[in-house]
C-alpha cells in the first residue's frame, strides 16, 4: 500500500507544481463565481417586491403600510394572503408581510397599558441567506422607527418570522452548484493531460518495468483527483457563502456522493481522451474541444428551460447537465430538471461507458 500512497503523493506534488493545471481546476471556477456574482448581485440597490396582506383593515395597519411604503428600496403589492404566498413561491415576490386581524386593537390597548407586543408575519426563504438578511433589515428599520415613536413602553410590534420555500432562487445560488459541477468536470477530464504526458515521456513504460500494478497507478490518479474535488467543493462553497451568502442546505452525504460519482465519470472521460490522444498537445486540444460544449450547454450559467428547444435537446445528452442538476437539488434545493435518481443513474451509466471505452482503447506505451 505504501507504493500507492507514495505515487498519490507524487501525483499531488506534480499537480501542485503545474501552475496551468492549478489555475484551470482551482482558480478558474472561482473567477467565474466572483465575476458573475459581482455582475448579478452588485449594481446598486434593487427594489424588493413585498406582498402586503392586511387582515385587520384598521387605521393602525394603514399607518404601518405607509411606513413600509416610505422605504425607498421596496415596493408593496397588496393582495390576499393565498395569492401573495403563491406569487412568492413562484419567485415574483421577495417577501410577504401579513398583518393579523386585531392588530389595530392590540396597538391601541398597548397605548393604555403594557402588554405583549403586536406581531406581523414576515415570510422569507432561508435558503437565500442574503435575501433573507435584506428583508429583516428592511423590516427592522421600519419597526424600529414605529417602536421609537411609541417610546418608553417597550416594543409595540415585533416580526414573527415565517419560512417559505421559493422556486425561483437567486442567480448566484443557481451558479455556485453549477460552477462546482463544472469544476469537477474539468478536474476529471484534465486527468488526460498528465496521463498522456507521462506516456509520451515514457514514464508509464518505465513504471511497467517495476512491480507496480496498473490498478495502483490508476487508483493513485483517481484518489488524487477525488481529494482535489473535495478541496474544490470546500473552496467553492466557502467562497459562495462568504462573498455572496449562498447557504448550502441539503444532504452532505448525497452531495459528497454526487461529487465522487461525477469526478469518477469525468476522470473516466479523461482516460477516454488519453486513449485517443497520442501527444500532450493533442490531449490539450481534445480536452478543450470536450470541455467547452460541456461547460456552456449543460445549464451551467443559465437554466436549461430557458434555452432554445434545439439546445435543450443537446443539454439532455450532456453528462454535466445531470451532475449540475443533481448538485443544485442537493445543495440549494434547486428546481429539479430531472429527478435526483436519474442524475445518479445517468452519471453511473456514463462512467460505465467511459470505463469500457478506456479499457478497450487505452495504451500504456
Amino acid at each position: 500500500m505504501s507504493a500507492l500512497r507514495e505515487l498519490t503523493i507524487a501525483n499531488i506534488r506534480s499537480y501542485l507544481r503545474d501552475r496551468a493545471a492549478v489555475f484551470w481546476t482551482l482558480v478558474f471556477p472561482l473567477i467565474f463565481i466572483v465575476m458573475f456574482g459581482a455582475i448579478f448581485t452588485g449594481g446598486g440597490p434593487s427594489v424588493g417586491q413585498y406582498g402586503w396582506v392586511d387582515l385587520d383593515g384598521s387605521a393602525e395597519s394603514g399607518a404601518l403600510r405607509d411606513a413600509f411604503a416610505a422605504q425607498a428600496n421596496i415596493e408593496l403589492v397588496e393582495s390576499d394572503e393565498a395569492t401573495a404566498l403563491a406569487s412568492m413561491r413562484e419567485g415574483d415576490l421577495d417577501s410577504v408581510l401579513v398583518i393579523p386581524a386585531g392588530y389595530g386593537a392590540q396597538i391601541r390597548s398597548l397605548a393604555d397599558a403594557p402588554g405583549a407586543p403586536a406581531t406581523i408575519a414576515v415570510y422569507s426563504d432561508p435558503s437565500q441567506g442574503s435575501a433573507t438578511a435584506e428583508i429583516y433589515q428592511v423590516v427592522g428599520a421600519v419597526l424600529g422607527e414605529v417602536n421609537l415613536a411609541a417610546s418608553g413602553r417597550g416594543p409595540t410590534i415585533v416580526p414573527d418570522p415565517q419560512t417559505i420555500q421559493t422556486q425561483d432562487f437567486s442567480f448566484i445560488s443557481y451558479l455556485v452548484p453549477s460552477i462546482l459541477g463544472m469544476a469537477v468536470m474539468q478536474l476529471g477530464i484534465f486527468s488526460s493531460i498528465p496521463l498522456v504526458a507521462d506516456r509520451e515521456k515514457l514514464i508509464l513504460k518505465r513504471l511497467s518495468a517495476t512491480p507496480l500494478k496498473r490498478w495502483q497507478l490508476v487508483a493513485s490518479n483517481v484518489i488524487m483527483r477525488l481529494l482535489l474535488a473535495i478541496a474544490q467543493a470546500v473552496i467553492i462553497v466557502a467562497v459562495g457563502a462568504q462573498l455572496f451568502g449562498v447557504e448550502i442546505g441539503g444532504n452532505l452525504v448525497l452531495m459528497g456522493a454526487l461529487i465522487v460519482l461525477g469526478a469518477m465519470s469525468f476522470i473516466a472521460l479523461g482516460y477516454v481522451i488519453a486513449s485517443f490522444a497520442k501527444t500532450e498537445d493533442a490531449a490539450n486540444g481534445m480536452t478543450a474541444v470536450v470541455q467547452f460544449p460541456l461547460m456552456f450547454l449543460s445549464g451551467t450559467f443559465f437554466p436549461i428551460d430557458s434555452m432554445p428547444e434545439a439546445l435543450q435537446a443537446v443539454a439532455r445528452v450532456m453528462p454535466l447537465t445531470y451532475l449540475s442538476d443533481g448538485l443544485r437539488q442537493v445543495m440549494v434545493d434547486g428546481t429539479p430538471f430531472n429527478p435526483l435518481w436519474v442524475c445518479f443513474a445517468v452519471l453511473a451509466g456514463f462512467l460505465a461507458i467511459c470505463f469500457a471505452i478506456a479499457a478497450r482503447f487505452f495504451r500504456w506505451q
Binding site: E6, A10, S14, D18, K205, A209, T210, P211, L212
Partner: protein, 313 residues
C-alpha cells in the same frame, strides 16, 4: 560461433531463437545468447540493430513473436511480475517525472519494492548530491542519465539492464558511469548493456555480441573477437578517388579494403610494403595521402569487417 558463458551454473539470461517483427521490419531475427551470473554482457550495434527491442523483451515490456526467454530462471512471458522485483532497468531515454526532485523520484521508486538501497546512498553513488532538491526537468542530459541508472539500482537488483546508458554524457560523466558499472560487477551484479560506443564495449564488457539488422553477427570476449579475424594491421588514409579499392587490394600484404567515414582502411600483413605501394601510387598520381596512419585492429575494425560500414554511420 557462440562461446559459452565464462562461469558455470545457471545463466542469468538465456535467449533462444528470439524473434520480433514490427510490420514489415524484422527487428529481431532469431537471436540466441546466454549471460552468466556476475557477467557484464554487451550488445553492440548501430541504431536500429534490434538491441533495444531485445532488452525490452527481456524486461517484460514487450511480447516477442517467438523464441525462449528465461531471465533469472524465470520465464519472462509467464511470470513478469516476479522478474520485475529482481531486475533493474534504465531505459534508453531517461523517463522521469519532470516536476519531482531527484530525492522524490528515488523515494517514489524505492516504495515500489519491498527491499533495496536508500535514496541517499544512490545519490552519493551517482554523484547527484548537489542536485538532490533539483527537479528532474532541470537536470542536464548526463545527470538525467545518472538518475535513470540510480533508479535502476533502487531495488538492489541481481541483474541490471542498461540501454545506452552513456548517451548524451560528457567524457567525465561517462567515465564515472563506467566506474559504477565496474562497482556493480565487483559486487556480483550481472549487467546487460547496450551501446554503440566501441570504447565502452571494450572497457566494460566481459563478453559482447555484435548486432546488425536484428541478428547477432559475432559473439565472444573482446580480445577473441579481434584476434579471431584480425592478425593484420590497419592502414588508414583519406580516400583518393583516382586510387580505387581494386588497385589497393593488389598492394603487398593487403588482405581486404574497407571504407570508413571518407577514409580507406587497408588491412595488411605487410605494413611497410603496403605503405610503400600507397606512396608510390599517390606520387605517380601527383597527390599526397592525407591523414595516413597505422594501427592495430580494434573492435571498430571487427564491426567494419562484419557489417561493411562504420558504427557511427
Amino acid at each position: 560461433m557462440s562461446t559459452s558463458p565464462a562461469a558455470g551454473g545457471e545463466p542469468v539470461i538465456r535467449v533462444r531463437d528470439l524473434r520480433k517483427t514490427y510490420g514489415a521490419t524484422q527487428a529481431v531475427d532469431g537471436v540466441s545468447f546466454e549471460v552468466a551470473r556476475g557477467e557484464v554482457f554487451g550488445l553492440l550495434g548501430p541504431n536500429g540493430a534490434g538491441k533495444t527491442t531485445i532488452v525490452e523483451i527481456l524486461e517484460g515490456l514487450r511480447a516477442p513473436d517467438g523464441g525462449e526467454t528465461t531471465v533469472l530462471g524465470i520465464d519472462v512471458r509467464r511470470r513478469p511480475g516476479d522478474l520485475k522485483l529482481r531486475i533493474g532497468v534504465a531505459l534508453q531515454t531517461a523517463a522521469l517525472y519532470p516536476k519531482l526532485t531527484v530525492t522524490e523520484v528515488l523515494a517514489l521508486f524505492r516504495s515500489f519494492y519491498p527491499r533495496g538501497r536508500s535514496p541517499d546512498d544512490l545519490i552519493e553513488m551517482m554523484d547527484l548530491g548537489e542536485k538532490r532538491t533539483t527537479r528532474t526537468k532541470d537536470l542536464s542530459g548526463g545527470q538525467r542519465q545518472r538518475l535513470a541508472v540510480a533508479l535502476a539500482l533502487v531495488n538492489d537488483p541481481e541483474l541490471v539492464f542498461l540501454d545506452e546508458p552513456t548517451t548524451g554524457m560528457d567524457p567525465a560523466a561517462r567515465h564515472s558511469l563506467w566506474d559504477v558499472v565496474r562497482a556493480l560487477k565487483a559486487s556480483g551484479t550481472s549487467v546487460l548493456l547496450t551501446t554503440h560506443y566501441m570504447e565502452e564495449a571494450e572497457v566494460l564488457c566481459d563478453r559482447l555480441a555484435i548486432m546488425d539488422h536484428g541478428r547477432i553477427l559475432e559473439e565472444g570476449r573482446v580480445g577473441e573477437l579481434i584476434s579471431r579475424r584480425f592478425h593484420d594491421r590497419a592502414v588508414r588514409f583519406d580516400r583518393i578517388d583516382a586510387l580505387g579499392d581494386e588497385r589497393i587490394a593488389t598492394f603487398p600484404g593487403v588482405t581486404s579494403v574497407k571504407h570508413e567515414e571518407g577514409a580507406v582502411v587497408a588491412y595488411t600483413r605487410d605494413v611497410p610494403g603496403t605503405i610503400g605501394a600507397i606512396l608510390a601510387a599517390t606520387d605517380a598520381l601527383g597527390v599526397e595521402p592525407e591523414d595516413l596512419s597505422v594501427r592495430r585492429a580494434t573492435l571498430e575494425d571487427v564491426f567494419l569487417e562484419l557489417t561493411g560500414r562504420g558504427l557511427r554511420d
